[in-house]
Amino acid sequence: MLYIPCPWCGEREELEFHYHDEGHIVRPDVSVGDGEWSSYLYERENVEGWQRDLWSHDAGCRRYFYVLRHSVTDEIGGAYKVGEKLPPLPVEAEREMGS
C-alpha cells in the first residue's frame, strides 16, 4: 500500500485517499465534435512510467490534488496542489521521455 503525501496534510496511508483519473484533463468547450468529446471522456495516456494522477484526500482534508506516480513501480515522486506550477517529473522519466 502506498504512502501518499497530501500537500495539505502530509504523508498518509493510501486508504484515506481516492484515485480519480489522470491529472490535468481539460474539459473541452462544448462546441467540439463527438470524437473530441469521447476522447475527453474515455481516452487516457496510460503512460508506462511517470505520470500525474488526480487524487483526493477523502478521509482527511477532502482536497483534490495531483500526485507524481510511476505506473510500473508505484513509486510516488511527490504531490502538488491544484493551480500550482507543475513540478517536473522525476529524472528517470525525463530520460525515458528523451530516449
Binding site: 500500500m1 502506498l2 504512502y3 496511508e13 480519480h20 468529446w37 483526493s56 477523502d58 508505484d74
Partner: protein, 1008 residues
C-alpha cells in the same frame, strides 16, 4: 505402543527438561517439554507416521522442522477451538494439547484408499481437466470425499483474534544468524526497531548448525542478542510471528500466534500491519529434497531438519542414518548424528569430495559412498532400507543398476538450498538466476528501502551471512539519518572450533549439477511436491503433452499450489521442466510468488470484524422507535432503513397493503432521514446548480423548491433530488440515500479543479437533520396540530420551504413528497429526531396514522410514476430515455452532461425508454428484471431480440391491479401496444406473459 520417549537423548537440546507437558495425539497421551513442538515431541517417541497424503493417501511423516513442512499437517483443539491443517512442526506444545491426524480412513496405520491402490493410475497430471470433459458428475462425489485436508471447525471460536497496527524505522524479518547480526547493530542505534521470527524460539538454522561468534556458541550468542532486545525500549520483539506478505511501500502483514499458555489468554492470533521505513529480509534458505523412488516414506527427512531436532530439541530421530547429499552442508548432520550415537553413512552424488565438514566426516571414519545416488527406499510406514546406484563423473546415470543396499531407518537428504525469496517477490522485487550455483537470488534493489541478507540473498556461508546482516543494519540506520559512529568492528566467527572468514565455508551451495539422474527407468513414485502429491512422472507427462510454460505446468500438475506454497517443490519442478525443454535449470524462470507466505486462518483475516462490528452501520435518530414498532430493516448503503412494519407476524405483502392504503386514505409517516443533504452557500451557488442540474435554476425564488436531475459528462443520469433556496445565496440540496457521498465528491471535484475561483461552499448535512415524510389526505391537518401556534410565518404550500416550530424547536417544512398527493417533509435537528417521531405518531393517532417503510414508499411513488435512480434509470439512461424531456433546459448553453446529451444516436430511435406496463391479467405481478420481447416474437427462433426489461413491479391496492415500469425500446412512441414479458416458470422453463405499454401515472389525488 511405545510409551517411552526413547529418542530423547540425555545432554542434548535446549528444551526445558524441568517442565513436562502432557499432550495427546490421536487419543494417546504422551509427555513433552516446554519448548517442544508437536513434531519434536512425537519424534521423541519415534512416531514418524503422522498423516496421509492428499491424493494417494500414502503414509507420510515429518519432512522438515519449520514452516516449509509439507506433510505433517494435523488438527488440534476441539469444538470451538478446533483448528485444522496446522503444521506439526510449527505447533508449540502446551499443557493438555489435543491433536488428531488427518486424511485417513479408517485408521492412520491402515488406510483403505491407499490399500486399494485404485487412484494412483487415475490421479495423474491434468486429471481434473481431462475428467471435466466427460465424467465429472460421476467422479466428483468420490473425489470430494477422498481428496482433502482437515475438516473445518463447525462451531464459532469464542477466542479473540485481533489486528494491530505498528510503524517503525527498521523491520527485521527472520531471527537466524544474519537477522540477529542485523539486530545487534540496530540495538546500538536509536531507531524504533521491530524484529520477528516465526519460531517460538529465535535462531533459525542456527538451532541446528555449528558456529561460534565472538567465542560464544552460536545459539547462545543469538539468545544473548535477543534478550538484550527484549529489554530495549525502542525494540519490539515478536516471536511466533510469521511475515505473510509484503506490499509496496514496505507494508508488511505478519501473524503472531499466542503461546497458548497461562490463564486469561490474550488474542489467539494477532494480525500485525507493519509499516517500516526500512525492511531487512533475513528469511534464510530452504533445503531441497532429493528425488528417488519412495522419497516420501516416513523417515525420509531433510538433513538440516534431522540435526535441528537433535541439537535444539534433543531428539535423535533414528538409529541408523543414511545422509543423501550433493553438498558439504549435509555432512554436519552426519557428524552430529554420529556424535549422538547413531550409525551413519553418506551417499554423495559427487566425486572427489572435499569440504569443511566432509573432511571432518572422513577423519571421523564415517562411511562415504562417492558418486552414488539413491534408487529406492524400502519400507512402507517407515523407512527400512535404501538402495543406491553409481553415477558417472558428470553426475549422469549409468543405467540405474542397484549397486548397494543398506538397512537404515532414517534417510537425511539434502539437494542443496534455495534462497527463501517469497517475501522479496511479493512487493515486486526481481530475481536473477545464478548459473553457477543454480539458484534464483534477489536482484540488488535500487532505491528501495528493502534489503535482503544472508541465505535469502544467496550469501555464502555463515561468516558472509553475518557480515551482510550487520552491514544492512548499519545501512538502514545511516539512510534514516541515525548512522552509527565508527567503522564496523570485526567479529570472530568460527565453525567447528576453527575461525572462518567471509567467503569461506561456502557450504550451502557447494554442489554439482545433479538434477534427477534417474528419471526414466525407475518404476514407482518419486515425489517433487509432497503436499499435492505431484511426482516426477506428472511433470514428464505435462511436458509430453506440450506444457512448456511454468505457469501452465504449475496449474496442470498442481505442483507448488498446495498450502506450503511449494517451498520444497517449486525449484525442482521448474528445474525439471527446464531440463526436459533441453535448457539450463533457470531457463524457464519462476512462477509468481503470491501472498500469503504461510496459510493464515480466516479468524486472523477477520480479526475483530465479526458479529455486531462486522461492518459499520448507520442508523437514524428514531431507530430505536422503529425497532420497538416491529420494523423489518433493509440495508441502503450503510444505512438501516425500515422496510416495513410488521404487526403480529403479518407478511411483507400484507404489511405493504395495509401501509399503502393507510397513507392514501388517512395519513402516513416515513423516516426519510437517510436522504443525502448538502448545504450550499456563496454568491456563485446558483451558478453551481446551473452546472450540476439539467434544468434552469436562475428563476428559483427564496423559499422555493425545485426537482433536478444530475448527469455525468456522457449525458447519463447520475442522481436526482429536490433542492430548496433558503436564502439569497443559500441552498439546501437533497440527493438519493445511496448517492450522497458520490454527489458531494463530484461537486467538490469540479469546484476544486475546474472552477476554483468560484465563491461557493458545500457541506454534507445529512446527519444534521432528521427528516420525516408525512403523506396523505390528513397530512396537512396533522401538521397544523403539531406546529406551535403562530410559529409559521407563512403557510405551507407545495414546492415551498417554510420555517416553523414544534415544541419550541425550529423545523423546516418542505412542501415536497415522493408519493403524490398531499405530503410534506419535516426537517428537525437530529437530536430532536426521536422526540419528533414520537410526537408525530401521537398527534396522528386521531387520523389513524400509519408508519410506513421503504417498500410502501416504492409502491406509492410508482403509482404516480416517479423514478428511482439506480432502479428504473441508471448510468445508461438519459433524461429523454427517462421521459423527463422537459427537465432539460433548452436555454442553457452548458451544464455537466450537456455535450454528452448531444452525442449522435442518443435521441434517435432504438433507445430504451421508460414507460408503464400493465400485465394482461391484473392479478399477475410482472417479474422485475423480466425481459421484454416483441408481441410477434417467435420463441422457437433464437436468438430473440431483447426489447428491454421490467424495472419496477408492484401489486397496488390503491389502483386495484398490478402495475409496473420498464425500459422498452422506443417505448414512448408505443403506448397502447402489447409486448411479451419473459420469466422463469415454476419448473425452471422460460415462459412469457402479455403486457400493455401504458402511461406511468396510475393514481391522482381525488381519484383516477
Amino acid at each position: 505402543m511405545i510409551k517411552r520417549a526413547l529418542n530423547r537423548v540425555e545432554g542434548w537440546g535446549r528444551v526445558d527438561r524441568t517442565q513436562e507437558i502432557d499432550f495427546s495425539f490421536d487419543g494417546q497421551w504422551m509427555k513433552g517439554y516446554r519448548g517442544d513442538t508437536l513434531a519434536s515431541a512425537l519424534l521423541s517417541y519415534d512416531m514418524h507416521l503422522v498423516g496421509r497424503s492428499f491424493k494417494y493417501h500414502r503414509p507420510r511423516g515429518f519432512l522438515g522442522v519449520g514452516s516449509e513442512e509439507p506433510n505433517g499437517l494435523v488438527t488440534w483443539g476441539e469444538g470451538k477451538g478446533l483448528t485444522p491443517n496446522t503444521r506439526g512442526t510449527m505447533l508449540e506444545l502446551s499443557e493438555g494439547l489435543k491433536v488428531r491426524s488427518q486424511n485417513y480412513w479408517p485408521s492412520l496405520h491402515y488406510d483403505v484408499k491407499e490399500g486399494l491402490g485404485l487412484f494412483s493410475g487415475l490421479l495423474t497430471a491434468g486429471f481434473y481437466y481431462k475428467t471435466f470433459i466427460w465424467g465429472w458428475r460421476f467422479y466428483e462425489p468420490l473425489i470430494r470425499r477422498m481428496a482433502g485436508l482437515g475438516e473445518g471447525p463447525r462451531e464459532v471460536c469464542e477466542r479473540d483474534y485481533a489486528w494491530r497496527y505498528c510503524s517503525c524505522d527498521v523491520l527485521v524479518i527472520g531471527g537466524g544468524s544474519s537477522g540477529t547480526a542485523a539486530l545487534s547493530e540496530l540495538l546500538r542505534g536509536k531507531g524504533r526497531v521491530v524484529i520477528l521470527d516465526e519460531g517460538h524460539t529465535e535462531g533459525g538454522w542456527m538451532q541446528g548448525d555449528e558456529g561460534e561468534v565472538e567465542g560464544m556458541e552460536g545459539m547462545d550468542w543469538v539468545r544473548s542478542v535477543w534478550s538484550e532486545a527484549d529489554s530495549c525500549d525502542h525494540v519490539r520483539v515478536l516471536r511466533r510471528t510469521t511475515a505473510v506478505s509484503v506490499y509496496p511501500g514496505n507494508y508488511v502483514l505478519a501473524v503472531e500466534r499466542s503461546d497458548e499458555v497461562g490463564e486469561g489468554l490474550g488474542p489467539r492470533e494477532v494480525l500485525w500491519k507493519i509499516r517500516a521505513k526500512e525492511v531487512i529480509l533475513a528469511s534464510g534458505g530452504l533445503e531441497q529434497p532429493s528425488t528417488f523412488v519412495n522419497n516420501d516414506r516416513p523417515g525420509v527427512m531433510l538433513a538440516g531438519a534431522v540435526r535441528r531436532y537433535l541439537r535444539h530439541y534433543g531428539v535423535r530421530v533414528g538409529e541408523r542414518v543414511c545422509v543423501v547429499t550433493n553438498n558439504d552442508d549435509a555432512y554436519q548432520t552426519a557428524l552430529v548424528m554420529k556424535e549422538a550415537g547413531s550409525e551413519v553413512m553418506v551417499l554423495d552424488s559427487r566425486y572427489d569430495v572435499r569440504g569443511l565438514f566432509s573432511d571432518r566426516a572422513r577423519e571421523e571414519g564415517i562411511r562415504i559412498e562417492e558418486g552414488s545416488y539413491p534408487t529406492r527406499v524400502r519400507g512402507r510406514n517407515r523407512v527400512r532400507g535404501l538402495g543406491w546406484e553409481n553415477l558417472g563423473q558428470g553426475g549422469e546415470s549409468l543405467g540405474g543398476r542397484e549397486v548397494g543396499y543398506e538397512e537404515v531407518d532414517i534417510v537425511a537428504m539434502s539437494h542443496g538450498f534455495t534462497p527463501c525469496v517469497h517475501l522479496n517477490c511479493h512487493w515486486g522485487g526481481k530475481l536473477k538466476f545464478d548459473e553457477e550455483r543454480e539458484i534464483f537470488v534477489p536482484e540488488e534493489s535500487s532505491g528501495e528501502r528493502f534489503q535482503v541478507v544472508g541465505m535469502a540473498m544467496g550469501e555464502e556461508g555463515f561468516a558472509g551471512g553475518m557480515v551482510s546482516g550487520r552491514e544492512a543494519g548499519r545501512r538502514a540506520l545511516s539512510r534514516l539519518g541515525m548512522g552509527l559512529r565508527g567503522r564496523m568492528g570485526m567479529w570472530k566467527v568460527g565453525v567447528g572450533g576453527r575461525e572462518v572468514e567471509e567467503g569461506e565455508g561456502d557450504r550451502r551451495w557447494d554442489r554439482e549439477s545433479v538434477w534427477f539422474p534417474n528419471l526414466w527407468h525407475k518404476p514407482g513414485k518419486q515425489f517433487v511436491d509432497f503436499q499435492n502429491d505431484v511426482s516426477v512422472r506428472d511433470v514428464l507427462l505435462a511436458h509430453a503433452e506440450g506444457f512448456e510454460s511454468v505457469e501452465h505446468m504449475k496449474r496442470y500438475t498442481t505442483l507448488g499450489m498446495a498450502t506450503d506454497q511449494g517451498k520444497t517443490s517449486n525449484m525442482h519442478g521448474l528445474a525439471l521442466l527446464s531440463k526436459l525443454c533441453g535448457k539450463g535449470a533457470g531457463f524457464l524462470g519462476t512462477t509468481t510468488y503470491r501472498p500469503p507466505f504461510t496459510p493464515l486462518t480466516i479468524g486472523t483475516v477477520a480479526g475483530m470484524h465479526r458479529g455486531d462490528v462486522y461492518h459499520a452501520v448507520r442508523t437514524t435518530s428514531a431507530h430505536s422507535a422503529h425497532v420497538e414498532m416491529g420494523a423489518v430493516f433493509e440495508d441502503v448503503g450503510d444505512w438501516k432503513r425500515a422496510r416495513y412494519y410488521t404487526q403480529t407476524g403479518e407478511s411483507m405483502d400484507a404489511a405493504v397493503r395495509r401501509e399503502s392504503l393507510g397513507v392514501r386514505e388517512g395519513v402516513g409517516v416515513m423516516d426519510a432521514s437517510t436522504l443525502g443533504k448538502i448545504d450550499i452557500r456563496g454568491k456563485d451557488s446558483v451558478r453551481l446548480l446551473n452546472m450540476l442540474y439539467t434544468n434552469d435554476w436562475s428563476g428559483l425564488k427564496e423559499g422555493g423548491c425545485r426537482y433536478g436531475m444530475m448527469l455525468d459528462e456522457a449525458g447519463m443520469i447520475m442522481d436526482d433530488g429536490v433542492t430548496a433556496r433558503l436564502g439569497v445565496d443559500h441552498y439546501h440540496m437533497t440527493t438519493t440515500t445511496g448517492g450522497a457521498a458520490r454527489v458531494l465528491g463530484w461537486i467538490e471535484g469540479w469546484l476544486q479543479t475546474e472552477w476554483p475561483d468560484w465563491e461557493v461552499y458545500c457541506k454534507s448535512v445529512t446527519e444534521v437533520w432528521s427528516v420525516y415524510a408525512v403523506n396523505g389526505v390528513h397530512s396537512l391537518d396533522m401538521l397544523r396540530d403539531i406546529l406551535d401556534d403562530g410559529s409559521l410565518a407563512e403557510g405551507v404550500s407545495p414546492m415551498r420551504v417554510s420555517e416553523g416550530k414544534v415544541g419550541g424547536v425550529g423545523v423546516r417544512i418542505f412542501g415536497v413528497n415522493f408519493t403524490g398527493g398531499l405530503g410534506y417533509e419535516i426537517n428537525i435537528p437530529s437530536r430532536y429526531g426521536l422526540w419528533l417521531w414520537r410526537r408525530i405518531l401521537e398527534a396522528g393517532e386521531k387520523y389513524g396514522i400509519v408508519p410506513y417503510g421503504t417498500e410502501t414508499m416504492h409502491l406509492l411513488r410508482a403509482e404516480v410514476g416517479y423514478v428511482i435512480v439506480g432502479q428504473d434509470v441508471d448510468s445508461t439512461v438519459t433524461p429523454y430515455d427517462a421521459d423527463h424531456d422537459g427537465l432539460v433546459s433548452k436555454k442553457k448553453e452548458d451544464f455537466l452532461g450537456y455535450r454528452g446529451l448531444k452525442f449522435g444516436g442518443l435521441r434517435g430511435s432504438g433507445r430504451l425508454e421508460l414507460v408503464g406496463l400493465e400485465s394482461e391479467n391484473s392479478e399477475e405481478k410482472l417479474e422485475e428484471g423480466g425481459v421484454i420481447l416483441s408481441e410477434a416474437a417467435d420463441l422457437s427462433l433464437l436468438p430473440l431480440e431483447n426489447e428491454g426489461h421490467v424495472t419496477s413491479s408492484y401489486m397496488s391496492p390503491n389502483v386495484g391491479r398490478s402495475i409496473a415500469m420498464g425500459l422498452v425500446k422506443d417505448g414512448k412512441s408505443r403506448y397502447g401496444e402489447e409486448v411479451l414479458v419473459g420469466r422463469v416458470g415454476a419448473g425452471g422453463e422460460f415462459e412469457t406473459t402479455k403486457a400493455k405499454i401504458v402511461s406511468r401515472v396510475w393514481w391522482r389525488e381525488g381519484g383516477l
